[in-house]
Symmetry: D2
Subunit: 350 residues, 4 copies
């Protein structure tokens, strides 16, 4: 049976892979510094986000991108506010602390950073002057760790709050493609690009072999990025591999249809919704509502084990009553028939 463990279980979408094959013998200078593919991809992304004043930089993976972004926008004694489940707070082995900066988690439990909880952390951190890490930045994720998709209203509220406190805004877009193509989404790429200081368009989890494209509006990060990327070990020698992949993802198809980047995400989402609806119909309660490519359900431990064995799902939370929140992930490579096969299996566990 097809696995639903993750959106990085396969290689790359065939169009992406073909682009790598097609350009394989070209000779380029290294490090994303001026090869034509990177330059072209930069231009395509600038158009997509609707700003020609941003820098576009190509990174090798999520942790590396987060670390460079945070390091470049925080001074040594400053901290970044995020939810307690934020990827940088729990899933990156202390990578932010490893650069000397401090993560300041809120008590938000649903993956969305809220002005109310952020305000509590902010007030506390400001309460004893130089004896506390000074908040200088917020970190949000779209889609969230739990598959949640930010509405425009919610997004504007946290941005307004951050601005009113003179905090920079960083958006982790590892699964941004899925979020922005999800059913009912009312937040646009352009609006994000207008409001945040830096964000990235995730490639690894949306059909590329690897790679994230960081869009940088903040002047301080613009200046620091190139050096920090090298210093933090995140600069790829054959940088054009990133350019080639993002070029393929954002190049306008001749037939006028949507660019590949969004198409791949829609495909993953469609399977995820099919999966969600099927599971709900079978009586599996949703853990937190999601319209994106990750879906979470609450199940008994034995059921969690059965799913894990069969399709590689992972446990994300053990609930107070002993039940578990498990995650199913669809990708560009998931097919509707894979979902149906899963649902047939799930029927036996329902």
């Amino acid at each position: 049976m097809r696995q639903f463990r993750n959106d990085y279980s396969e290689g790359a979408a065939p169009q992406i892979l073909q682009a790598l094959v097609d350009t394989n013998y070209e000779q380029t200078v290294g490090y994303t510094d001026g090869d034509p593919h990177c330059e072209h991809a930069r231009e395509l992304i600038r158009q997509a986000v609707g700003r020609d004043d941003v820098d576009v930089e190509f990174c090798i993976g999520g942790t590396s991108t987060n670390v460079i972004g945070v390091t470049g926008m925080l001074r040594d004694w400053e901290g970044v506010i995020c939810t307690k489940d934020g990827h940088i707070n729990v899933h990156e082995t202390g990578a932010i602390a490893a650069t000397g900066r401090t993560v300041l988690p809120t008590q938000d439990a649903d993956g969305f950073l809220s002005p109310d909880e952020a305000e509590k952390v902010y007030q506390f951190q400001m309460s004893t002057g130089r004896h506390m890490t000074r908040p200088a930045m917020i970190y949000i994720t779209n889609a969230t760790e739990f598959g949640g998709v930010w509405t425009k209203a919610k997004f504007d509220a946290i941005c307004d709050w951050a601005r009113s406190h003179e905090l920079r805004i960083f958006l982790d877009g590892a699964r941004l493609a899925s979020a922005l193509t999800s059913e009912g989404n009312d937040l646009s790429l352009r609006h994000i690009a207008e409001r945040v200081d830096a964000f990235y368009l995730g490639g690894t989890k949306n059909g590329m072999l690897f790679g994230e494209a960081m869009v940088i509006a903040d002047p301080r990060l613009k200046e620091s990025f190139p050096f920090l990327q090298k210093e933090r070990g995140g600069l790829m020698a054959k940088g054009r591999l990133l350019g080639v992949q993002f070029e393929a993802a954002f190049e306008q198809p001749a037939d006028g249809s949507e660019v590949l980047y969004w198409k791949l995400a829609r495909q993953a989402n469609a399977c995820a919704i099919r999966l969600r609806d099927g599971m709900v119909k079978l009586g599996f309660p949703v853990y937190l509502p999601s319209t994106s490519n990750q879906q979470f359900f609450v199940v008994e431990p034995a059921v969690a084990d059965a799913f894990e064995k069969a399709v590689g799902t992972e446990t994300f939370a053990v609930l107070p009553d002993g039940k578990r929140a498990i995650r199913f992930v669809c990708s560009w490579a998931t097919k509707p028939e894979d979902v149906d096969e899963l649902l047939d299996f799930a029927k036996m566990l329902a």
Copy 2:
């Protein structure tokens, strides 16, 4: 009116200061490395803690001591478990993160690290292998941030828990003198020295101009300490100043009475208990029970302001109902009549 803001509001106990004056013209080698006062103080402390296999090192202040201790016992990717109010978690401007290590706070709210809450953090951090900071150490404080004194039972329980999880144990003893001389205390210095990997005997908050004496049993920290102390900027050129002070504090008086280190703390505690009993009698509710030199009471905001203005008390927590937990601190320099004057003033606010 005498201030009750802190136990570092004055200079040094007169005996300590006199020792500095008496030795002022002696010439010694620097950096605590082999001058007779440091060597003698080391010997006195080894006797006091009942172990001749420990290293005794002299530090300039609490944050510096904590940072060196944590850095010397954690690898880059390891973390230290402490309560959410732990000094290293909130009051040191991210000093642990500044060395690349991660603080892993529990939800304990009373200042005591409990096996139950520590276990939750431990289990969570172990749940996804290399993607999470690996817990390797616990950090506890005696007396706690809220003046609480560890009982032997409670102390043994957390030590047992730590040992069963192969975690190192670090005890912040900035106010250890006050804790161990407090009414009802059943934990001995020797027992602490037997069980923890490193701890310190605080001097700054117990009558010295500055200085903490770190007692180190852990072989890894023993080897690292001298270098880390220099690298972290915590090595004092005129190191003998630390030796002279701790010598004066731990030298056995000719009259057979207790050494100065404990005497000074008893004096502070006696005033604190007088203060506590007087305040309770006046109807001020205690915030968290304390038998040591810090006392916390719950008061209305206006009363908090009045106390702050009069005697320099600080707000430690704003409670959900808007009331405040304020702190009164007694030191070796506090006199019973100072307390009585304070209580007279408090009467007007009761």
Copy 3:
């Protein structure tokens, strides 16, 4: 004209790329943690190095590999001795310092770390105890930054020296394939694996899209590596991409011929020697002798500019007399006819 700028100017050797295409739709768990390709590649490499007690870990690039290796074998206050031109000393934007460790450069000018110069640094660093970074490791590169290939005698001498000083040994093998297949080389992969604590088999500069395989004998680094790789942002989500590539490189061909990893390097070397011999014949003086895929010549500034414009060569050193040492690099993708075309061009500048 074909560029001679670098050995990472092209994509991947066709056999490597084909392996990625062939395995593209397979689903694997992430992060190199247990997918069959990584496991198989690990096994092949263990066989190639002749040790089954080593860990084999897959990294994304040279700087990241160096940083993880150094961090995992040095404590905060320890340093690594290398030549002044060592990659970690000059070409990685302070990546070692960024992890808090110190690089201790010698005055060796030819790219080879010598016992004599290393001894000078060692003695100096040991001269004032804890006031100086303590040397704990050496870093060498084969081939060196200037294309030099270590003889067995020279290699054993520096290893003997390091062992006699209780220093760990790390070998940067970004171009190890070229070194070990170079004309006259008498150092074997197995001998290296017997003597050093960690080294890596470079893939990026030998026909892979990216990737280095670290071989780890040191117990401390073994334990730290998985966590450090994540913490330093060097862990690839689709880890199997590394496994697939190294599998293709080290899989024994059915025809009994040499594995691809060495074949690719021989091809690069053959072109480099053809280039060298041709240039020497034309009268261009060699800068430092090299038998590997990098060749350096001393030329007038105007000639340097002409070569740079034509084939992308870079200046590596400006000599006291104003002349320049420029570098030509051949790769698996260089063909003899490319070299001949270059030599035709060079004739005009000779």
Copy 4:
């Protein structure tokens, strides 16, 4: 016999110590944040340096001061240029690297950073863009590590060079008092304060128990300093101890004579010159010319050993011919008769 090992072999000048005794029972708020002694000392120092727009901050010792100053003026990927013998390069156990920043040493061998050598380092570091640490600051010391005193011309030359390269300037003034009161000195405190971004007035080596006063003109460091001081473990709880000492050192005496800070240094210098002249007369060759309180002579190893045993001198360099450069240091506590006694002893070794 009186030791000549160091200028931190004794406690404090009696006037300084008396000030500590006199203020011992005063209660002040902590951390140098607003107590009257610190505020007064700040005002006195602002007057002495002739600028009321600078921040004056009190530090606990040289390494801590250097680390805070460098961290506060360098971004993660920037480096500081200094001579190869610079204190931060060799004598602080990698304290700068421990904060993630890189030291970029020149080949200057006499302790003075020269525009020519600095330019070489600068040009090299700028040669490959983001692959190298970007120079952003210079670090100089007055008096130098070898007792040398900067002339105004030399000082202006390096400042001009730094400004023309947009580098910040940091002056380590651990022995600034000795330099500025030395015979023939033509550089004024006011001129230094006009030209550098930050510097400090050393107290530890000029008659205080400990303490350095950092004078900060740079806006970035002004903002960062308070937080960095806490984060780096360099903030003293009883901050007023620093204020009291610097107050005593810079308070104008009622008799109109020079302030204590300069008087103490003149006393040390006078002894050092007496020592130098005596030694030279005895035929001991000077190592590097010095007019300040440190004097270096070239002697045979056996003579070095004899001096070390007798008066605690240390070897600073082993020369190619096997001879040694040894250091004699005078302090505020050295008396002319101590020098004469030393010279009597030296006569036997001449």
